[in-house]
């Protein structure tokens, strides 16, 4: 820190060499006067950003915190079923439910049915074990007329399913308000009868596959935008400003049209009776029977997303390339490098800050992309965000949506961290 060139170094040594602390002209200690002078400036700066800070806290941080909280907290079962929840808390996982457990269950369902909350309870268990919501609601209806001991026999008489150990395992998993079961479910895992973490049935394993597909497709789209965007950005950077501004409008034009319009126009182009197929048939590349399927699958998602995200790659690249003095490449050429060597060793390394920023931007946007895969993706082109949306609006399992989103967020943050370690975030140039 205190190098010979550091202007503070001289002050530090001077202060250290004098016994009495320095004072201002009117006798105040210097450090206190300095602190007061800079405190006022700090406060003024803080007041300037305070409105935005409050806005972000209210509209961004708090809802996201709320959402993340939901991913680990769901009291649909535990709040409405206090007695059986207490029994689960006292016993080990894998304990066979005894008479006391059935008594607690019957009383809880009866009370819940009277409070009209048994549907919520059923929905919570339904997340763990699909098809059980109706079991709770029908049992609740029957129990409202009263129930007599022995409870075990009474419950089994209402429905044989109450003896199913898997159902009891699901109830045990839901019996605490704070739970990891949504995160386990997001990774295609669950807790079995004995409380051990196991993979779910093969036909229910979707999330890990979707995460992998999302990462793979995002990486591919990022690479495609790089391949297409790099030459364009270079062209924009070397053209005279008047021409490059005109071209820049063409690059930005897609930004000014609605995302929906752009995606639907890709549908017009790519569908089997669409423009591209017609053109290929007209050119004789394919025959009418062999029309290419470029939509409602991954190819459609890749093409449309590459097009839509292209400007996010071009803009940072362009802004960095604009600042690279052409004399660097000239110097390399005069020093004996072929134009390819000059590009590879001199020009390309200097574009890395822009490339890194563009790649990070495109990748992060692609990982969270929703509308395009939903419209042109078909079954094989769906991404994890489509599943999150499905849980938000379809199954209404917000906890599950929150857990999936949190895993996605964590993944992006890890990538960001890796990028920081490899390239350095201060080397990022967004424009």
């Amino acid at each position: 820190m205190a190098s010979p060139l550091d202007p503070h170094a001289a002050i530090v040594t001077e202060a250290g060499g004098i016994d009495a602390p320095l004072t201002t002209a009117d006798g105040q200690p210097l450090h206190r006067a300095l602190a007061r002078a800079s405190r006022r400036a700090r406060w003024r700066a803080f007041l300037l950003v305070a409105p935005l800070l409050a806005f972000i806290l209210l509209t961004f941080v708090m809802p996201i915190g709320q959402m993340l909280y939901r991913s680990v907290h769901n009291d649909g079962f535990s709040a409405n079923m206090p007695q059986i929840s207490a029994w689960f808390a006292e016993t080990e996982p894998g304990t066979t439910p005894d008479e006391a457990a059935f008594a607690a269950l019957a009383n809880d369902i009866q009370a819940s049915a009277e409070a009209r909350s048994v549907g919520i309870v059923g929905t919570r268990i339904n997340y763990e074990l699909p098809g059980t919501r109706s079991l709770f609601t029908s049992t609740g209806r029957k129990l409202r007329d009263g129930v007599e001991p022995p409870y075990r026999e009474a419950m089994l008489e209402i429905d044989r399913k109450w003896g199913d150990p898997e159902l009891w395992a699901s109830m045990r998993n839901s019996s605490t308000a704070y739970t990891d079961s949504f995160y386990l479910a997001s990774l295609d895992r669950t807790r079995d009868v004995n409380g051990d973490i196991v993979q779910v049935n093969e036909n229910r394993r979707v999330y890990i596959m979707l995460f992998m597909r999302t990462l793979w497709l995002s990486a591919l789209v990022t690479f495609m935008t790089f391949l297409l965007g790099f030459p364009i950005a270079h062209l924009l950077a070397v053209l005279p400003l008047r021409k490059s501004n005109l071209l820049m409008i063409l690059v930005l034009l897609p930004f000014w049209t609605s995302l929906l319009v752009r995606t639907t126009s890709w549908m017009v182009l790519l569908q089997q009776q669409g423009v591209v197929n017609d053109l290929l048939i007209w050119l004789g590349v394919i025959d009418n029977a062999g029309r290419l399927k470029m939509m409602y699958n991954q190819i459609g998602t890749i093409i449309a997303m590459t097009h839509i995200l292209l400007p996010f790659m071009i803009l940072p690249l362009y802004s960095v390339m604009r600042t690279i003095n052409p004399s660097y490449v000239r110097a390399a050429r005069s020093l004996g490098a072929t134009s390819w060597t000059a590009f590879r060793r001199i020009y390309f390394p200097q574009t890395l800050p822009g490339l890194g920023a563009g790649a990070l931007l495109v990748f992060i946007l692609a990982v969270g992309y929703y509308i395009t895969p939903a419209l042109v993706g078909g079954a094989s082109g769906q991404l994890i965000s489509n599943m999150i949306a499905e849980h938000m609006t379809g199954t209404l399992n917000w906890s599950m949506a929150a857990a999936l989103a949190a895993i996605l967020l964590g993944g992006v943050l890890i990538l960001y961290w890796i990028y920081d370690r490899l390239v350095g975030i201060d080397n990022l140039k967004l424009g």
Binding site: Y328, R330, S334, G336, A337, T341
Partner: protein, 367 residues
């Protein structure tokens, strides 16, 4: 460097023309022969075509017409990386993502030199510019003068026969610039390398060069050694561009070989040397250096014509006294006197008579 073997044609521009837009010529019929080991400066105002000439020599621009020869071979179609010419750029163009050592290593790597030889050459080049301790620094961590030295070392590290410099000192402050001028000159003399140097700074050109080519309007106006250029300018542009100059307009009154008498507009007559005037009655501009003007009768040659002058102001500049005079109706006539012990101090309003040796007054083309 002594002025020997200047015309063995190491670099030859043969009727070179250059046009960018197909409508006008930036370089008009350039003919120039540069000797091996020579330090040649292309001097001129911006837009005079000097940098274009340098870029054609480096291979970044192609000549529209004519040939450029390097060591006897036509290099018109040789790409820049095969010309083997070292170049120092105006902004240094040090690769910012490489250390100083890597910058110097680059030209050696692309030539396929082994690691041991590369390191040895880098060390030698850095020592040559007294930057041996800086091999691991990044260019951004160096001062302007240090970057300049590294750029110089990089252009020399692969032992080129020819080094081009495009206003390399333009970004430095005055003191550093003067220091670097001497260092570059010393390096040139030590290594014996041929240097083509482009600048618009006449002081720099006079200090460093073996010969100077003054460019204007796409042509070489005069190609000469520095003292000849200053003392014997061949036209009004060179006289006005190099150093301070008094220009008096008049008409040739009589002509006898290279001796001429010039009639000024107010009817006064002065003596001059005819340079590019041919006949009596022709309009001319007479060029006289301010330090060659005398006002003490005992220092003037016998029979010289003198002119009445009125002192307008005297500026004290330390080593010299710069006196502005009104001569022959012109108010921008400047006389410089050395500030010696006992030098007469003139005051504004004094009336004196000024004169000069006829060979110091050069009758040139009219401005």
């Amino acid at each position: 460097m002594t002025n020997t073997a200047h015309d063995d044609g190491f670099v030859v521009f043969d009727h070179v023309q250059k046009s960018y837009d197909g409508q006008s010529l930036v370089v008009k019929d350039l003919n120039l022969s540069i000797g091996r080991g020579e330090f040649l400066t292309m001097l001129g105002p911006s837009g005079s075509g000097k940098t274009t000439c340098l870029m054609m020599l480096a291979g970044f621009e192609t000549a529209t017409h004519g040939q450029i020869l390097l060591d006897g071979t036509n290099i018109n179609d040789v790409p820049p990386h095969r010309r083997g010419i070292g170049m120092v750029f105006q902004n240094y163009a040090l690769f910012p993502h490489m250390t100083v050592g890597e910058n110097l290593s680059f030209p050696l790597e692309v030539r396929g030199l082994g690691k041991a030889e590369r390191e040895e050459r880098i060390k030698r080049a850095l020592d040559m510019v007294q930057m041996g301790a800086f091999a691991n620094r990044r260019p951004a961590q160096l001062s302007g003068g240090q970057q300049q030295r590294i750029a110089l070392a990089r252009a020399l590290v692969f032992d080129p026969k020819l080094v081009l410099m495009d206003e390399p000192l333009g970004a430095l402050d005055k003191q550093l610039r003067e220091h670097m001028q001497f260092e570059i000159k010393a390096l040139h003399e030590r290594l014996g390398v041929t240097v083509v140097y482009v600048t618009h700074d006449q002081g720099e050109a006079l200090t460093m060069s073996d010969r100077i080519a003054v460019f204007n309007d796409g042509r070489i106006q005069q190609l000469a050694v520095p003292d000849a250029l200053y003392e014997r300018p061949e036209n009004s542009f060179v006289a006005g561009f190099i150093g301070e100059n008094n220009a008096i307009n008049g008409m040739i009154d009589s002509l006898d070989g290279d001796r001429a008498t010039v009639m000024l507009r107010n009817g006064d007559k002065i003596d001059a040397t005819a340079v590019n005037v041919r006949e009596v009655g022709q309009a001319t501009t007479v060029s006289i250096r301010p330090e060659r003007i005398e006002f003490k009768p005992e220092l003037m040659p016998e029979g010289a014509h003198t002119l009445p002058a009125e002192v307008l102001d005297v500026v004290y500049m330390g080593d010299i006294l710069r006196t502005r005079l009104k001569v022959a109706g012109q108010e921008d006539f400047v006389m410089k006197c050395r500030n010696t012990l006992g030098q007469a101090r003139l005051t504004p309003g004094d009336s004196i008579r000024v004169g000069w040796h006829p060979q110091d007054a050069r009758a040139l083309d009219p401005v």
